[in-house]
């Protein structure tokens, strides 16, 4: 067993007993990155020197019998989270050389827990996309098959964990951007309840939907990361003053007394038969663990994508107004007037998908269209939330697929933005409702691509998600038809 293929809880034991040092672990991970990164391409920026310095500091603490929950554990961070003095690009030319003057709260929490940050990982530009093909600095490949997408927008996070380039990663999820790449790369991903984790220092895409969360190799590691990053932050006015439990305490065997709802709308037309088979098998496994299975209905599911692709671009068009070439980032040269400078900077700095969403959002908010588009979408958002309230009156957790299909080939859907948008249909509604959602591996397609099972629960019920995911993980034996490509 190589050091890099361990989980966090496994490597923590070795570190605590001083069988290995944090510098040895970090060196092993940096070597692993050097060996596979050319094929995987998960990172936008590597920070080997900073990582080694953090490892040395971790070793000092460990030698003194101290150190936080992640002391000496190498992790990656999605390039949407500000890291003090470490380039933060958001996958965009417009922030190509941005050096944040502060750490995001979650990055501060990682550092306080002793984590070693090995680098920043690739993402769709400003987290807009489902394939990470919209990253200005290269697209990561799926570690299971290098010809396939790793998903997105936290594609670099999922690929870096699946390729054993780090033990865990922080991603962000606005419409499925943690859960979908986790599903496509065969790792665990959790989008917490809106407000559970601070967004301070998370570069904004759609502020009413964005949430930071972990991507890990197993459920216990997910709970460990949640312990570190959760909690109220006075610097984020939307973070909630809710007590943070010890999430690892939720990992107990047996699901007796728990009701799992199966939303029938998630199993309709368009669902790949291989995905359906794997998810149904996962549900049967949960039943065997003692859970009661009930069918529920989320009647407005078919409207989620339409609501999302108005609300998210509307918020984005406002949030991205700040990129004007004045305070940070790229500025186009040789503009004669201020207005020209703004226009040239934005036109040259943003990629096509970002421009497309700014245009949709601007259109939906513009005079004469606001009621027909933005207001209408916000009203249907209320109906979607009511669907969930009714469903959670009948069950504790919802189980479904994460995405209608396994990963597809790189480049396959480049000319068809709407078809990519529609692939988000099962993940988007959790963001619209602010509820937590999780992706947990439940099988493989015959082509050897991972398939994830999605769990959703009511606000602040992450412990229920972790309990169900843990039981699935413990009971389900998943045999990949072929090994990873790296």
């Amino acid at each position: 067993m190589e050091l890099y293929s361990l989980t966090i809880h496994e490597v923590k034991e070795l570190l605590a007993s001083r069988e290995v040092s944090a510098t040895e672990v970090t060196r092993a991970l940096l070597d692993r990155i050097a060996a596979v990164e050319k094929q995987v391409g998960a990172f936008t920026t590597l920070a080997p020197e900073m990582a080694m310095a953090q490892a040395v500091a971790a070793d000092r603490l460990l030698a003194a019998g101290q150190g936080g929950a992640l002391c000496g554990v190498p992790v990656s961070v999605k390039d949407v989270l500000c890291t003090k003095g470490l380039r933060t690009t958001c996958g965009s030319r417009i922030l190509e050389n941005f050096l944040p003057p502060y750490d995001a709260t979650v990055v501060e929490k990682l550092k306080d827990a002793g984590a070693v940050i090995v680098g920043k990982v690739a993402m769709d530009e400003f987290a807009m996309g489902s394939t990470t093909e919209n990253c200005a600095f290269g697209t990561p490949r799926n570690p299971w098959n290098l010809d396939y997408i790793c998903g997105g927008s936290s594609g670099g996070s999922a690929a870096s964990v699946a390729a054993d380039e780090c033990y865990a990663s922080l991603g962000s999820d606005t419409g499925g951007s943690i859960r979908q790449p986790a599903s496509h790369c065969g790792v665990v991903g959790l989008k917490p309840t809106y407000g559970r984790v601070s967004r301070f220092g998370l570069v904004a895409f759609a502020s009413s939907l964005d949430q930071v969360g972990p991507l890990t190799k197993d459920v216990r590691d997910c709970a460990l990361l949640m312990n570190v990053i959760s909690g109220h932050d006075a610097r984020d006015s939307t973070s909630v003053a809710q007590a943070v439990p010890d999430f690892t305490a939720a990992l107990t065997p047996g699901l007796t007394g728990l009701r799992i709802g199966i939303p029938k709308e998630y199993f309709g037309a368009g669902l790949d038969p291989e995905v359906e088979r794997a998810v149904r098998q996962g549900i049967a496994t949960l039943q065997a663990a003692g859970a009661e299975i009930v069918e529920v209905s989320l009647p407005h599911t078919d409207y989620c994508v339409a609501v999302y692709y108005l609300v998210a671009p509307a918020e984005a068009s406002s949030n991205l107004a700040r990129y004007d070439g004045v305070k940070y980032g790229f500025r186009a040269r040789a503009a004669e007037t201020l207005a020209d400078m703004y226009r040239n900077t934005r036109s040259q700095g943003f990629g096509d998908e970002v421009k497309r969403r700014i245009l949709i959002g601007t259109y939906a908010l513009s005079s004469g269209y606001y009621d027909a588009y933005y207001k209408k979408a916000s009203q249907v958002r209320t109906l979607i939330i009511e669907d969930f309230k009714k469903a959670f009156a009948q069950c504790d957790v919802l189980a479904s697929p994460v995405a209608p299909t396994p990963a597809w080939r790189l480049g396959e859907k480049n000319d068809d933005p709407l078809s990519v948008y529609l692939s988000d249909i099962m993940t988007i509604s959790a963001n619209l409702a602010g509820i937590p959602g999780m992706s947990i591996p439940c099988g493989f397609s015959q082509a050897g691509l991972p398939i994830g099972l999605q769990l959703q629960a009511a606000h602040f019920q992450e412990e229920k998600l972790l309990a169900v995911a843990y039981n699935l993980e413990q009971r389900l034996t998943i045999t990949p038809p072929r090994p990873k490509a790296v």
């Binding site: 003057p101 006015s237 909630v240 409207y303 226009r343 700014i358 245009l359 209408k376 979408a377 509820i435």
Partner: protein, 94 residues
């Protein structure tokens, strides 16, 4: 058509984006497909439904009015593409 090339150009101007003729054509086509798709929301009766702009019922988040440290001027200016040590510099506007 839900959106014309002229409207695409108008929206681009509002968003401070320049689009080439080719981009206007492609964007208009894609926006039209997306706007035609989202029109399915019109099938739903929403008279009297409160719009949701925030999924959790949080109201104003107040904090004590205390002075905390913040970025220094040099730190705040450090990422400016053009600055003179005191302020960001932009093309002349008057």
């Amino acid at each position: 058509m839900k959106i014309t090339p002229e409207e695409t150009e108008h929206v681009a101007r509002l968003a401070h984006l320049d689009l080439s003729a080719v981009e206007v054509h492609a964007m208009t086509e894609q926006l039209d497909r997306i706007l035609s798709y989202v029109a399915k929301l019109n099938a739903l009766e929403t008279e009297g439904v409160q719009p949701t702009t925030h999924a959790l019922a949080i109201h104003n988040a107040f904090r004590a009015d205390e002075v905390h440290s913040s970025l220094t001027q040099a730190e705040a200016l450090a990422n400016g593409p053009q600055q003179n040590g005191e302020a960001f510099v932009v093309p002349r506007i008057i």
